[in-house]
Structures are given as C-alpha cells and as structure tokens.
Symmetry: D2
Amino acid sequence: MAVPVANPQPPFNITRASHVVLTARDLEASRAFYADVLGFVASEVADDALYLRGLEERNHHSVVLRRSKNPAVGALGFKLASEEELDKAARYFGERQIPHRFVQKPFQGRTLAATDPLGMPLEFYFAMDQLPRMLQKYGVYRGAKIQRIDHINCFTPDVQASHDFYNEIGFRTTEYTAAEGSGELWAVWMHRKGGVNDIAFTNGFGPRLHHIGVWVSSITDIIHICDVLATTGFLKSMERGPGRHGISNAFFLYLRDPDGHRIELFTSDYLTVDPDHEPIHWDLLDPTRQTLWGAPAPKSWFEEGSLFPEVAIREPLLKAKPIVAP
Amino acid sequence: MAVPVANPQPPFNITRASHVVLTARDLEASRAFYADVLGFVASEVADDALYLRGLEERNHHSVVLRRSKNPAVGALGFKLASEEELDKAARYFGERQIPHRFVQKPFQGRTLAATDPLGMPLEFYFAMDQLPRMLQKYGVYRGAKIQRIDHINCFTPDVQASHDFYNEIGFRTTEYTAAEGSGELWAVWMHRKGGVNDIAFTNGFGPRLHHIGVWVSSITDIIHICDVLATTGFLKSMERGPGRHGISNAFFLYLRDPDGHRIELFTSDYLTVDPDHEPIHWDLLDPTRQTLWGAPAPKSWFEEGSLFPEVAIREPLLKAKPIVAP
Amino acid sequence: MAVPVANPQPPFNITRASHVVLTARDLEASRAFYADVLGFVASEVADDALYLRGLEERNHHSVVLRRSKNPAVGALGFKLASEEELDKAARYFGERQIPHRFVQKPFQGRTLAATDPLGMPLEFYFAMDQLPRMLQKYGVYRGAKIQRIDHINCFTPDVQASHDFYNEIGFRTTEYTAAEGSGELWAVWMHRKGGVNDIAFTNGFGPRLHHIGVWVSSITDIIHICDVLATTGFLKSMERGPGRHGISNAFFLYLRDPDGHRIELFTSDYLTVDPDHEPIHWDLLDPTRQTLWGAPAPKSWFEEGSLFPEVAIREPLLKAKPIVAP
Amino acid sequence: MAVPVANPQPPFNITRASHVVLTARDLEASRAFYADVLGFVASEVADDALYLRGLEERNHHSVVLRRSKNPAVGALGFKLASEEELDKAARYFGERQIPHRFVQKPFQGRTLAATDPLGMPLEFYFAMDQLPRMLQKYGVYRGAKIQRIDHINCFTPDVQASHDFYNEIGFRTTEYTAAEGSGELWAVWMHRKGGVNDIAFTNGFGPRLHHIGVWVSSITDIIHICDVLATTGFLKSMERGPGRHGISNAFFLYLRDPDGHRIELFTSDYLTVDPDHEPIHWDLLDPTRQTLWGAPAPKSWFEEGSLFPEVAIREPLLKAKPIVAP
C-alpha cells in the first residue's frame, strides 16, 4: 500500500515545521517584499541576513534570507519538543548512518544539521530566542497580515521514498495524490502540528523546494494582497491564484519573491490531530484536486523550484503528468 | 472626440437598468440554478415563465425566463421616473422614427417597446407590482445572496454608434477602452443610477447580450458561491474569475446559466453621481484593464453571447483585439 | 400624514451630501486620527486647516477641519448639479427670505452659504478642485479604508419641520421612525444620491450635528478598525458598535474624534433610486430598529452632539423616548 | 506560583476535547436551532437523542442532546490517542482512587466514565464511528457553517484545583487571569490540540458548564449568523457579542440554546503547539481582557451556567469580581 499507517512511536518528537533559510541577492528588495508588502515582521535586519517572523510568532524567525549571488535554499528547519529530543535525533541519524552534526545558528540553541535520504538539508533545534508576539498589535498589521509559517513543500524525484522517511520520523499523512492505474504516490501531505501539512512532496525534478506556505487568517486578507501587489509594482510576482485547493481545502495565493522563491499564502484548512484520521485519496487527473474551481495551475508552478546548493537534481521516477494550464 | 460630454437634458428620464427577459429551455433547471444555487428570490414560478428578483428588490422581477426551444434574449428593460416620462419616450422615438409601441407585460404597468439603432429590443415602464423586500429576511439568504440587478452588458458591432444613442437618451460614461493608436472606442460603460454602469458595450459580433450584472454585497459571498458551484455539479458554469476588474474596480465572477446566458456577480464599484465625474480612459492592451491582477479572460468570454431573435448580427467595425488567455 | 410624497420638481438640483466643515483644537491630533488610523487621504495639511477625502473621492475634500479653541461645526456642504443650479438655489432662498450669500471657499468654485429654517449653516457649490482618486492605489490603503462621505445626521428639536424643508428642496425619505400612538415623526432618513440617506434627523436638543457617515467597502474593514483602535490608544474613541442597524440595514461603527465629533463608519445599505420607493416605517420602541441584533445604543449616543456656533439649541417638541442602554 | 510548568509526561495521552452530552426538553426545537439555524450537521435524529457534528468532523458526534425534563450536562468527552491510552487512564484513576468505570455509549468504542476532583462527569474513548466529512459539500453549508467543536469552558469554585488536575493529566496553559494583588488564579485556558484551549475554567459557583466553544472559519460567518438569528425569531438567544476577546484573540458570539445551554461561536485564535509557549498573564480588571474593544460582558454571562445532575454546587473560594456591564 502506498500510504502505510502512521508511526505512533517516532524515534524523536518533532513539533512542527519551524523555519526556512533562503539565500537572496538583494536583502533590501527582500525586506521590501516580505515586510512592507506582504506583512511579515522583521525581527533582525542585518547586513548579510534578514530574519522574519509572522504576527503571532514568538520564535525569533520563520524565514531567514542570507545574502548570496546565487539564490538557493540553505536549510529546512524543524522545532523539536525538548533538548532531549535533539539527542534522540542525533542518535537516530547516527544509527541510520545519515550525515549529521551539531552546528551554531544565530538566535537558536543547540542545532542539529542533517540531510534527508534525498539530499535535503534539515536543521533541528528546540530553543530559539523569543520575541514579543505582535498578534494584538493591530496597528502594525500590513499587507496580507502574515500570521506564521505553516508548511514546507518540496519537489522530489521519488515521492514514495520521501514519504517513507518522513513517515518513519513521525509525520502523518493527511492527503495524497495517486497516479491513475498504478496507484503510485504522486504527491503527499504530512503533518506534525495538527493541520494538513508541515511538509509535502510533489513528483518532479528534485530535490528542490517548491514553496513555503505561510498562514494568513482570512480569505479577505488574500484578496486584499492581490489588489496591493497588482498596483504597487508586484504584478509579476503573482503566479497562481487566488483559489481554493481541492486538496487541503485551503484558500491559496502563490507568489514568487524577488529571487524567484515561491511563497504560498494559505488559510482555512482543517484540524487533523485525531490519530485515526484517515488520509484522503485524490486522483491525479481529478480537475478539482489542484483547484476546487477547476482552473489548472500554470506550467511554471509545476516546473520551477528553488535549488539546494551542491545537491544533484534527479529526474522523477514517476512519469504521470498532472493537468497543466495551456 | 470619442467620449463627448454627457447630455444634461435627455429627452426622457430613465432611472436605471431594471430587468432582462431571457428565454430558456427548461424552467425548472433555470429555477434550480438562479434560486436554489445563486440565491435569487423566485417571485413567480409559472408553467411558461419564471420571475426572479434580488433580496433587496421590491420590483416584482429583474430577471424573467420564458420557456422556449431556442434560448435568446427577449428584451432589455429600463425603469423610467414617472408615467409622463413614458409619454416623452414615445414622443422621442416617434420623432426619431424609431420603431416603438405600447405593449402589455405581466406585472408591469404601461410598457413601451422600442428598438435601439443597432436592433436591440428595449422596454420602458414606470410601474411594476411591488413585493416585500427580503433584505432583512436573512433566513432566506442562499448561495451568493443576490441583492439586485446592476447592469446589462452587450456586444455591439459599432461601439461608437451604440454609445452615441445611449448618451443622447441620458446615459453618462464612467469608463471606456480605446484602441491604441486610433483612439477609437472599443468598449464603454454608461450609467443612470450612480454606479459604474447600467449599460455597457464591448466591440464584437452583435448586437448580442454579453451578460447581466447582478449586485452582491461582498467579496466573501462571491468566494462562497465558487465553492458551492464547484461542489454541487455546476463546475462547468464557472467561466471566469473570481477576480478584480481594473475597469470599474469591481470584484467579479462570470457564470453561464443552464442555457448559456452569462451572469456576472458584481460588487465594490464606486459612486458616480457627480455630474462633473470625468470618464476614465483605459488602453485596450493594458493587462490590468480586464483583471487588475493580470489574468486575461478566456476566449469564450470574448466570443460568446446571447442572441436577440430575428436581429441580424454584424461583424464589428473595429478590428483591434484584446489580450486573450491562451 | 407624517411622510408626504417626495417633491418631484425641487427648486434646485442637489446631487449629494458633499462635505462637512468642523473645527478642532489640535490639527495634528485630527490628522493622526483621520488619516493614519481611520484611513482618510489628506488632500491638504495646512497650518490652520486640514482637508481630507476618501479613497474613491476626486473632490478635493469631504471633511474639513479648521483650527479653533472651541470644537464645533462650521458648515454642511452639498454639491449641486451645475452652476445654474446655484443661481436657482440663490433665487429660491431669496424668495423664501432665507438668509444666504455667495462666499469664497478654498478649493471650491462659487459657493452659496445659507441657513436652514432651524438654523443649520449650509453651503452649496458645483465646482471643486479635482484630485487623483486613490481607489486603485491599494498600497496606500490604511485602517478602515475610508471610501467616501455618505451622509450627515443631525439632532433637531422639530423633526417634522426639518423633514418638510429638506423634502421641499428635493430630499426623498427612505425610512422613518414614528412615535407609538401619535405617529409623530421621531427620526427620518432622506436622500438625493440613491442610498438610504444624504441627510437624516433625530429628535433631540438641536440643531446639532449628530454624526458624519462615511462609507467603507466591507464589514471586515469595520471589524479590523475596531482591533486597530483598541490596540493603538483609541479604545475610548469607540462609542457604539460594531453592529447592524435595523434602519437602513447598514453595518456600523460609531467613533468620537479627538474633539468629540462623531463619525459613523457605514456600509451595506441599499439602492433607493426608484421614484416609487415606499418609505419604511419603524416604531420607536422596536428593539431591532436601532440595532437589528437588539443591543440598545448608549446614552451618550442619544444625548451628545456637535454644536453650530451662535445657533441656539432648543428642546425637542416631541417627548417620546427611545430604548437606551442601562 | 499560580501557573506551574506543563506536565511533559502525562499519565495518559488525551488528543482533544471531543464532545459534550447535554439534556434538552424538546429535541425538535434543539434540532431546529443547532442544525437549521446554526449549521451543525445532524448525524442521527432519534426519538430520545440528537447527535450533531460540524462540517469538517468525521467523528459521529461532537454535541449530543438527550431528551429530559431537566436540562443539564451529561458528560464532557475527550478523545484519547489509542485504545492503550484508555487502559492507562483507567489505571491512573484507579491509583488516584477517582471514581471511574467502563461504560457503553452509542456510536463509541470502549468508553471510560470518570469524575474529576470537583465532580464534573468526564468520558474518555478512542474509537468513534466515522461519517463522511462535509467540509467540501459546500451545498449543505448553512447559518454559521459550524466546522467543529473547539473547547469546553466551565465554572469552578476553585480555579487552582481545577487547573492542577487538568495540568497533571497533560493540559497545557496558554493564558490565564489573575486577581490583582493576590495573583490568585481567576480563570485559565488549557489545551491539548494546539489551539488556545480544549478546556477552560472561570471562577464562580460550580462546577457548572459555562459554554461549549465551536469553531467557525471566519468572522463574516459570525456576523451573518447574527443577522439570521435576529430575523428568524432567535433574537433572545444572542447573549453577548459579536466581539474580539483580548484573551485568546478569538472573535466570538455567545448564544443560548433553547434550553439555556451556552454556545460560543469562535474563530481566529492562534497556534500553541510549541512546548516552550509561555502562558499569557491578564489582570482581572484589564478592560480589554474580556473584549479587546472594551465592552464588558452582561451579568448573565458571569452568573448563569448549566448544571451537572447530582453534583453539588459550591461557592467560589475567590471573591474578586470582574467588570460587568451595568
């Protein structure tokens, strides 16, 4: 079976997707886009790095942008439940002979860097500097009023292999897409925190980052940011949407930041904490899967993504194709 | 100049676009679509005709569907300011030697039928049966919570000629699209009631009805009806949107009814009652004109429309083309 | 009968309520409140006056604040349909022996100042400087995203007399409140532009300005400004609401500006352009009249208002009392 | 210290607040209120019981109403993470000598009934019949579009004692109110599922149920149900709100069902899954605590609640008083 039962006793306890480290060519352009336009809060604006958080977040950062000539993805970050879980994680990776080491990261406590079986750079930590939450500082709300990071979505050349690793370390599948006929896994959404996903995988040249999903609190916030983007010089940053996903039921808007990294504004999925929550199956060619309203995604959305430096990209094993806008 | 000054002393006083008479093949299918799904109120469900009104409307009907094997448009209805204005209208059409006559229409007082210079069948009246408004009967709200008819939009082979006639009888231009270079009128929006339009014209094979615009009170009502349509068997009725028009600033969704007649759900335009309100000029190839967010309309939206029976369609004089989705 | 038929041939043609001139003690405090917090656009910030307009307004101003030690109301402004209508207005006031004279007002063309029978200072004009509309400059939207002025609401000691004068000059009644038993007019809403009101009167010590109503485009904008006001030091400026009026069906929030002038944020009333639009009768003691949801207004809302300088206040003729919050 | 550190190793694993069993005098009146008006889905309509669930819920029921002449609360239900956790729970209650026994409940698997130290009847289970989720059956959405149960809120005569028990069995405090001066706990919000609360306690005569909180997906759904309730004969069921809580940041509306049980419609709190999430302290007399916008709750809201049959009510230990509307 493509989607096995969730692992009730994972080797270490991951709380949630916590942050993403990206590189960017012009941090002032990044700051303008993420903070002034989208409405992230800037926790730290330094010469070589920009640290952002959402309005409800107390963790110092959920998006980090480091200056670089070649935009790419530095790391995908996950918060663990305690310091002891970090040691359990190190032990797990050691036993599996997966590359890992403790590293220093600004504003974070002990941080374990590791690589997943497909080559994606991960970082795990428990402690991060805490900053005042801005949730009830309504006077500083701007743009789409970004609340918090929600999830990380990646291209993988082998959805089944990616699924199997994250399933083993405790992520639970909520929805998945299977190729017609073979039933092979074409995409999968997996969570720790009780929403539809903390991490998701789509079949494609990979590993690459497809997008970061950030939570906003209402559909009207997403409609408003469309109007703002379209009339403040960011028309070209609007890649797809707004629309309603069949998968996850989320209302979405996909944007490309000044370096081409993709950001999804995301709201209105559902609670998935029940351990007996049965994963939902979608056929790859169901037109309401991508967008409940039937509009297919553009080609760029299926083909473009952000690279992990020094990680070779492989062709996807699965050749089945989704419905793409002409 | 393409857009002359509005006529401050029109020959008779039109209050607003009031109703449209369509023909339909299956009135029960029409009733299900308009009343059960979209949320119109059914004022009268007869064997050969269906009369609909919006939640705030006291006039007996704003959309009439008559049974017929060949779906088409029976008449475009306008409410005048008084019975005397009807006589003035008859006199005006007589002087201009435009075909016209007084006719009997159910639920309406004296009604003057006439034909505009391009062949569109019009009907003018002052008195219509009044029914209770349902605006504060929130328990009967359904679907998109249709509030009232807003406007009528037509294809015309000669936008300048259509404009000139409606300008003469008192419609005032709020926005218009001109072809690049020649500056010729490609589309025009004209009003009586103080919004962006009561009637609008687009260059194309015509005369044909492009759509009826109906007012809804919020963007969230439009998003909700997308979800309802997509999951109750009406996915194919969703032709374009939701989106924000550059022109009119309205938030829109275009639907096709069971007979292919096009309905626009429409909200958030602006007040235009000031007599010195300067019309807004748009270039035909401005990508934000159609949709502020840059997404072009599908081909069907530019090419398909509802016929007026026994009215010959002519090729448009103007050959300039808009941006069409691939 | 309390509410006579509207006057179809008024002596001059008023387009709409256009602006209000207030006096304020600290113009910087006023600017912060109206522009930074509420989201008005500042058209002119001068040493002794502040001119504000809404996002969709092209007229130079709809709210004017002049510096003064004693906050009061300078004038209630109405836009006429043309320069000739100004001369007709002067003739009308002359014939009625009502005080009037042409005055110079910054940013306005010829302006006729007059006084209504109860002593309220009015000003009529046709031409005003035009500024770019900001409706599609979504990047400058702030706070409640004020769109435009909607109406002016006043206390009067004699609702019937106020009604009769404004009815004569062309305002049409859409809704009214009558005292139980006697049926005497207790409040009345009257319009020119096709909404529920351009001017309204409530029984009370007067004449005084009760509030200026400004249009916002959605309920969610009103909810958001509540959160902003409550968390940026303006908690005390929130006097009543948010809520839904039974009368007018509008969604409302009442605020007090830094000088105590009352502002209503207002949305979702309905179209009233039909000449045969029957006024709606409300009983004074109907609990859903004030607020559809049943919550009575606070005492301050019924008792406090802004003075017209040098105009004596009279006790109301009618002694009937509304439902007031304990 | 009033709020100790959360228990990282609770004796058994509770997933979330799952359901409430109430008694009601007229199940058809209950069905009309909960299903037709509010928008719950009726899973089972039997002669002596009514089972309801929200649109996204697959569990058979989250609200159960049993016929009885004396409206009261039958049980507060919690879902555990597995069948083994049920046995651990039985062991825990046995060791603590807390009354408990396995019982049969319709549509549920093995169910453990127990009583908390203050006398509240609890039931724990893992398995419940699963029904199709209606989340994407938008055609059946009605009223406030109830999504799911969110939390249970109770009066207790000893907030500290209630807190201590639920803290021991794994609930984590997110926010709390302390009396000025003494710092004694006056109210506390505690969760398992990653929102602000699964269970909350307020100082008062108790134990009694204060309310069930049910999740809706947007503020506009709450505004709409106010309009529906006010105009369909349910005006008196509206007890408090709509408004924004300072505590939890939730947008709320409090209703009383036909038997007086209190229901809170609730949306827009925040994610609390981080184990190092610091509880937020509120002063009892902070006016923005109850309602961010400053409006105090009515007396009934502080004084009335639903009884647990055969459980004696005690006077609260703490005498400090909140701000109550006059």
